[in-house]
């Protein structure tokens, strides 16, 4: 694996629903290597402000054309400036970065739980799982139906999915973790993948542990370098070896961590 910096040509950039953007660019060297769970680190402007790159999970990869797609939400200045980039312009991409979701060979029925834009990196995972013929169900959560991410791709892949919305505008009215609780016995999942806001991850951890099901979470932390050099992205984890709490680097030790390993609220 080699990390690459590319000035990647943008071939598609559209606002799917207000503030949610899909950005596809040509980065063959990154596409070739990209594993589910990994992320790319984008420079949103040539200017010195905002200065730092912004990390985004890999949402999809098209090997044929060597493209990588990210799915992001405009939440601040950096993402706002990113959304100003036009098709046929280039974006400065560093990647693929981070570790990857593991796909245990013993796994039978996986469940993938995504909240908000947290679903983005899980769509690529679902695709890889489907391609490997692993039985997989995706549970999507959002505040309202319009903000459910990735359904079109999942449909195309023929991946089963269910949805929960806070306002009940589609699927279950409530949190996606309630959906998980309801399905977990019925479907006898034996592996859980999750990505979303911290309270969701805490709840997923709880459910997984109560049911004795292993799994993995994808975390976020503010990042500078993205390659393990600045030590800026520390997150507390319990070292399996000795049960000691230590700081892990989300960018290189993660972003994927085992359920139970992460020490939340610390």
């Amino acid at each position: 694996m080699r990390k690459i910096v590319e000035h990647a040509l943008i071939i598609r950039h559209r606002e799917i629903v207000p503030t949610y953007f899909e950005l596809e660019f040509i980065a063959p060297d990154i596409a070739r290597q990209a594993l589910p769970g990994q992320f790319v680190h984008l420079r949103v402007t040539r200017s010195l402000d905002p200065l730092l790159r912004r990390p985004f999970g890999i949402y999809n990869v098209e090997q044929k054309i060597g493209s990588v797609t990210v799915f992001y939400r405009v939440v601040g200045r950096g993402t706002a400036m990113l959304s100003d980039l036009h098709t046929a312009e280039t974006v400065d991409v560093l990647g693929p970065l981070g570790n990857t979701f593991s796909i245990p060979s013993t796994m039978q029925r996986a469940v993938v739980v995504g909240g908000g834009v947290g679903i983005a990196p899980l769509v690529y995972l679902a695709r890889v799982l489907a391609e490997r013929k692993v039985e997989v169900m995706v549970l999507l959560g959002a505040s309202t139906a319009g903000f459910l991410v990735g359904r079109d791709i999942l449909k195309r892949l023929g991946v089963d999915y269910m949805v929960a919305t806070d306002d009940g505008s589609e699927g279950l009215k409530g949190h996606v973790t309630e959906l998980l609780e309801r399905m977990i016995d019925r479907k006898r999942f034996d592996y859980i993948y999750a990505c979303g806001p911290e309270p969701m991850m805490v709840k997923v951890t709880e459910i997984a542990q109560q049911n004795g099901i292993p799994g993995e979470l994808s975390l976020e932390e503010h990042m500078a370098c993205g390659i393990g050099a600045c030590l800026g992205c520390a997150k507390k984890v319990r070292r399996p070896a000795d049960g000691q709490d230590v700081y892990a680097k989300v960018c290189t030790d993660g972003p994927v961590f085992r359920i139970g390993e992460v020490v939340f609220n610390a």
Binding site: P50, L51, L52, H222, G228, A229
Partner: protein
């Protein structure tokens, strides 16, 4: 083809090598401590031995866990960090990182930090015998735990103590890295040189903070952090300019370097060499790119030796 060959032959050979207080650098572009890990992290982007030197992450006597997150926050044209000197301790540095880099032909400068004068002294002694180490950078921007947390680097008496102690414990070239959070940087520089510094490194980060307006509390768990990046360049260039005119040792200039123009600013201000810091995060191959650009610049301008640029902005027009 023959024409091309001729051209290449005629291309004047420029000298990029400089001497940083007894540390020979193949060129003036180094990478700043704490922004380049142990070099390894950047191997996919940079041919490490093409750099003037790699200054590795700050090392303490014992391993340190560092500060709780959040540790960094972006600011206008800059960033604040409060890493808290997370590092595996000097023994791990000596046994793992040093041999790895040395095996690759890299010019290595260690960076040491302590909470007490004794720790600095012990670190210097431990590193003294390492043949693979080109020099030691002494980071004095650390809180002195024995004296209520005031930074070593902000009190001339403490600067003298630390540098003297380190000097007594090593024959390695010593680069003392000054804190910019002082009224009179020239005074600090003079004291460091008197106490035995072979070179000075400036600047370290400016003390700053950011507040999370939503949560109504400081963003960094540590409250305060160090400001780095292009935002601080004007302060850094000013301090290099002031100090270089007043002391006789070479200066390693840094603070916000992002381009060849920035490198030239520091050299013209009086720095003998420079360090790329935060810029590595933005553009991982920046340091190596700058080596190449500096060489091309000298060739294009017909400047035979990079040392001709050092301090060239002084005293023109009666300034």
């Amino acid at each position: 083809m023959p024409d091309r060959k001729k051209k290449e032959k005629e291309r004047p050979a420029v000298n990029l090598a400089v001497d940083l207080g007894g540390i020979p650098l193949r060129n003036p572009v180094t990478v700043a401590s704490g922004t380049f890990g142990y070099g390894r992290e950047y191997e996919e982007f940079v041919d490490l031995k093409r750099l003037g030197a790699v200054i590795v992450k700050g090392t303490t006597l014992e391993p340190r866990a560092g500060n709780p997150p959040p540790r960094i926050v972006e600011t206008p044209a800059g960033m604040l960090n409060a890493i808290g000197l997370e590092n595996p301790g000097v023994e791990a540095f000596v046994s793992e990182h040093l041999p790895y880099l040395a095996g690759r032909g890299v010019t290595i400068i260690a960076n040491i930090a302590g909470d007490t004068v004794e720790e600095y002294a012990a670190l210097a002694a431990r590193l003294d015998g390492q043949p693979d180490l080109a020099g030691i950078e002494v980071n004095i921007s650390c809180p002195n735990v024995k004296r209520g947390g005031m930074q070593f680097g902000t009190d001339p008496g403490m600067v003298r103590e630390v540098v003297t102690a380190v000097r007594e414990n090593t024959g390695k070239p010593l680069v003392v890295k000054l804190s910019p959070n002082v009224t009179d940087i020239v005074q600090m520089a003079r004291v460091a040189v008197e106490a035995g510094a072979d070179a000075l490194s400036l600047i370290n980060t400016l003390l700053g903070m950011a507040i999370d307006v939503e949560k109504q509390r400081p963003v960094l768990a540590n409250v305060f952090g160090g400001l780095s990046g292009p935002a601080i360049k004007p302060v850094a260039v000013r301090m290099v300019y002031q100090v270089a005119r007043e002391v006789d040792v070479p200066i390693l200039g840094m603070g916000g370097i992002m381009s060849l123009g920035d490198v030239l600013e520091f050299l013209l201000a009086g720095a003998t060499a420079v360090s790329v810091g935060t810029g590595n995060f933005v553009e991982p191959h920046l340091s190596q790119r700058l080596v190449g650009e500096l060489e091309s610049y000298l060739e294009a301008r017909g400047i035979a030796d990079v040392r001709e640029l050092v301090g060239a902005a002084w005293g023109r027009n009666g300034r």
